[in-house]
Symmetry: C2
Subunit: 502 residues, 2 copies
Amino acid sequence: MDVTNRLFNRDLMNRIVSAEEAASWIKDGMTVAMSGFTQAGDAKVVPYALVERVKREKKPFKINVYTGASINSEIDGILAEASIVNLRLPYQSEKRMRDSINEGEIRYIDQHLSHTAEMIRQNALPQIDIAIVEAVAITEEGYIVPTTSVGNSHIFVEKAKAIIVELNEAQPTQLMGIHDLYNPEEQGRRRPILLTAVDQRIGASAFMIDPDKIKGIVLTNQRDVTSKIIQPDEDTAIMADHLVHFFCEEVKAGRLAKNLAPLQSGVGSVANAVFHGFLKSEFTDLEVYSEVLQDAVFDLIDAGKIRFASGCSITLSPAKADKVLGNFEKYRDKLLLRPQEISNHPEIVRRLGLIAMNTAIEVDIYGNVNSTHMFGSRIMNGIGGSGDFARNARLTIFVTKSTAKNGNVSCIVPFISHVDHTEHDVDVIVTEQGLADLRGLSPRERASVIINNCAHPQYRPQLLEYYQEAVKRGGQTPHVLEKALSWHVRYQREGTMLGKSL
Amino acid sequence: MDVTNRLFNRDLMNRIVSAEEAASWIKDGMTVAMSGFTQAGDAKVVPYALVERVKREKKPFKINVYTGASINSEIDGILAEASIVNLRLPYQSEKRMRDSINEGEIRYIDQHLSHTAEMIRQNALPQIDIAIVEAVAITEEGYIVPTTSVGNSHIFVEKAKAIIVELNEAQPTQLMGIHDLYNPEEQGRRRPILLTAVDQRIGASAFMIDPDKIKGIVLTNQRDVTSKIIQPDEDTAIMADHLVHFFCEEVKAGRLAKNLAPLQSGVGSVANAVFHGFLKSEFTDLEVYSEVLQDAVFDLIDAGKIRFASGCSITLSPAKADKVLGNFEKYRDKLLLRPQEISNHPEIVRRLGLIAMNTAIEVDIYGNVNSTHMFGSRIMNGIGGSGDFARNARLTIFVTKSTAKNGNVSCIVPFISHVDHTEHDVDVIVTEQGLADLRGLSPRERASVIINNCAHPQYRPQLLEYYQEAVKRGGQTPHVLEKALSWHVRYQREGTMLGKSL
């Protein structure tokens, strides 16, 4: 690699080391914080070298691993397989890591994504020994310019005792300048965050650290390894239509502006499909204030629908990455990447009045939402930023298909097996069946709207039967506790939630 | 009443009417918004006159009733008894109102207390026809000076078509000047709220409305009718000790400053007892940024422990009210009252880094908290501001006795029957048995700490038995779904949660 157009601080030249050497600095018991948010901008080679070394050494070895959010699946996978993770936080989305967590082999703290930096600042988590962050460049001052994500890297490099930089030639230098790196002070001594518009800059364009903290620089040349985005299917397309129709009606009613309000959308295929729904809508001048900028955001920029997008990562399918990163000048003035505590900050979320759209695993008849756990016990990924947005947004929307497992699971249930978002935070539920606008409704009214608008027809009679039995017992939120979780229990025993009587 | 020292705008003299006349303006189907937060500063005579009139007229009559939070119990009581309430929000704490809500006779929307003003601003709730607000004075400009609470009155008077002022001679004029009435603009066009210290003023000292909106002024002379504060008992005193000890250790560890961080404490006797715990502690220069300022806050000011207290209401027991309000000059420069959306604002809660202490009804072994519902269905009061604080605070603490109903109910259960706060938001649990510091712990570790430190010894074996059975099935948050709610079901059937085997 010709490092001269990426490593502008000549004094740091002699810090260039191999991945193996950098990995050798990581000792048993350390806390290692790595860049990466939704598989973008993550450390790509040092973790591999570390795993190789540990396998070779065959000594007891465990580390704590902090990241922004999910990282390259391969890396979470090999870390889990090698059994070298003691504590993992604040988010993951990889099968082997998930299995180890669910087996209790890896301690996992599933955090609101805006909370991690605060907890580190408060010294309420094990201190960071080494931060490994991917960079597109190191400036003359020795400052680090991140790549396709910011995540928690600002706090990682600030608090780590030592920093390893992975300088990645495969990340286009045009990424320089798209970061807005604001680092709040300690709570209690903190000033207002003066961000009042999605396209506003309030921070630096590089992590302004003491270059002496950079212990090593590893040269890499590898693209982000992202998941394939599943293209919208019939159901997700219908869900998007319901939402677009709802937004049109809100504009007509004068409750939303013509270009709505800044949009936040969760990670994954359903969220991507929802954004895709705007493509054929009449909305223009849309603004995005979200975590991850996925394929659909760039499609909407191309189509002239999105005016500006603020995120904390750019996560693209491989095909889309070629187009976007290969032609990045086109997008440079239409987006900004911020730390996740800023993209998800309650202060900003509330001030801007976001429309928050996130995915549910299951929803109960009163509008409580489970977005993390299968059948109460087994975690899928994590709560991510959904709680940061849901509590503080102007309008909180959760989307889910009405059924899963070939119709054997109803995603609308009497009582969810795990609660991540309470009815106080949930304004709208959308399934392919329809949309339930819960604003201004008491729980009993919510039940009727959710069952009728959102549940799959094959489950409606069962849901109504439960609800009616519950109402006979009374209450603000009527339940039949001995039957509340019986749908889940039945599925575990019989492979289906369907059944004539509870 | 000599109105000249309270009604400074002479043009409004001719708006003085009887309570009966004012009540006659309230028509069937209207939405009536009333001042009042935790039984302080509420409308005191027009609601009575209204109920009298409706009883006399014997015609169908229903209204929607919005308040700040709980009001004078008598008033919620007679409104419920008269069956004239269609919709009630965002909080109540009165037996007859609660019973009617649980019977489904009154629609009740239990809201985060910072959300109501936003939803009104967004036009997502029925529009306010008439606001009835208690005032200590009306200024020369015709602006309204509230009394012992601010609550939602700023948004009520802004959005109502007409305003009825209850000018209350029993509220001391010394209250003038203690209000800091900041009204955020619309979301999306909103500037940062420039509040960075608990004693900082950012707003006006009166509601700056168009005086023409004042349709009537009713003269009253009646103190706030508040609940008796139950004095700390042995258990709540022990809980306070646990907390004070914890805070001392946090200071020693360098995680909190010597005067801690601004304190928020919920409503009621347990919360009051927790504050009382500071009396004999070594802490000084404490700051409060809370909703309600109860007896203990004034005791702590008297004792030189609290430097400054910001709240949205002053709710005192009758005996304490005599002392404080009769000698208010002593406290005037040590407190401020703000709108509840500012006292509870996520922006401020996060910026100041509050220590939030609120009461739980029950807690599960993983640290999820129910603060509203008895046995899943029947609501007690409401979520109040606990969610505003819990999600966004620096340190979120929930307190509860370990048992209720003479030991027949364990307040630590395998699975709570209603979730208001998820484990992501809960840092510390305190019972009279001990304190569980959950920061940095994964759910399985949380279970062990909560069971061992917080559960009553008579329930520990049962809890461990459940937990161990659950762990055999695996998962990040292990559960045995068919037994998860069995403790509640057993209590409903047998009158106790105690039992050899599940």
